[in-house]
């Protein structure tokens, strides 16, 4: 019964939560570990007493788990495995590698804002609520992230016509 509930939650939200964790941690293997930890926590909490598990609750739990993992990580791991995959015919391997590497060099807080803005399509207010920061802070983090990405990518990224 519990396993079925967890299976349903994973089917509904798992992939989206995994992608969030990958961007936060810049590491697929670490994201897998984080997700397993989160769902185990949820399973135990559900076993003790049922409660409504929403995506917002799961996203917050994933976020907290990832930031705890980042604090425990002594130094940035040099992970070769890419965190991005091509999603368009215009994508190139060279560009993907450059963007991948540029994202990995960003601080986790900036990477998170880029992910939520560009890949999840959230507004700055929604990002501020998710990250528990002011809208100005969310905006600043995005601006700094884009400046860093621009410096890293300018020579190699094709411009849209």
């Amino acid at each position: 019964m519990l396993a079925q509930t967890v299976a349903g939650l994973y089917e509904a939200y798992g992939p989206r939560l995994y992608r969030y964790a990958v961007l936060l941690l810049a590491d697929r293997a670490a994201a897998e570990d984080a997700l397993q930890d989160v769902f185990l926590q949820i399973a135990r909490a559900l076993d003790r007493g049922g409660f409504d598990v929403t995506f917002a609750y799961l996203a917050t739990t994933v976020r907290n788990t990832c930031y705890s993992a980042l604090r425990r990580r002594r130094r940035r791991s040099e992970v070769a495995e890419p965190i991005l995959e091509a999603a368009s015919p215009e994508a190139t391997e060279e560009e993907r590698m450059m963007i991948d590497q540029a994202l990995k060099t960003l601080p986790a807080e900036q990477r998170e804002v880029v992910y939520l803005k560009v890949f999840e399509g959230l507004t700055f207010q929604e990002i501020a609520d998710r990250c528990d920061v002011s809208i100005n802070t969310a905006g600043s983090r995005y601006r700094y992230a884009m400046q860093s990405l621009r410096r890293a990518l300018s020579p190699g990224v094709s411009r849209a016509e």
Binding site: A7, Y10, R19, R44, A87, E95, V157
Partner: protein, 117 residues
């Protein structure tokens, strides 16, 4: 210089990696294991309590002293003093004064075994 629009367009040509196919089953198995383990959790509390009580009882029994026979104790002390006192005299007195079974006064007036009703 890339504009924010160009940069976002570049980013959107890619997506974050999807989870591996084995992640879902591993998560569900973890939940199933947690459910199995929780079914036996209720045993450990009472078992621990019973173990503590048993340990306490055994300590109490081990610490219980033999009842002291005051008459024998007086005889041992008298003989030990007669021999000059000290540990050796005491030890010798303990050896030579026999240990008598302590009579429970409450049983004194019970019927003798050979008496029949």
């Amino acid at each position: 210089m890339l504009s924010d629009h160009d940069l976002e367009a570049a980013l959107k040509r890619y997506r974050v990696a999807e989870p591996p196919s084995g992640l879902g089953p591993a998560i569900v198995e973890g939940a199933a294991r947690a459910e199995r383990e929780s079914k036996y959790e209720w045993i450990w509390g009472p078992a621990a309590a019973a173990a503590i009580v048993a340990l306490w009882l055994s300590v109490q029994i081990a610490m219980a002293e033999e009842p002291v026979d005051p008459v024998r104790e007086a005889e041992v002390a008298f003989i030990a003093e007669s021999l000059g006192g000290g540990e050796d005299a005491r030890a010798y007195a303990e050896l030579i004064v026999p240990k008598q079974p302590i009579v429970d006064p409450s049983r004194v007036f019970e019927e003798e075994p050979w008496q029949e009703r």
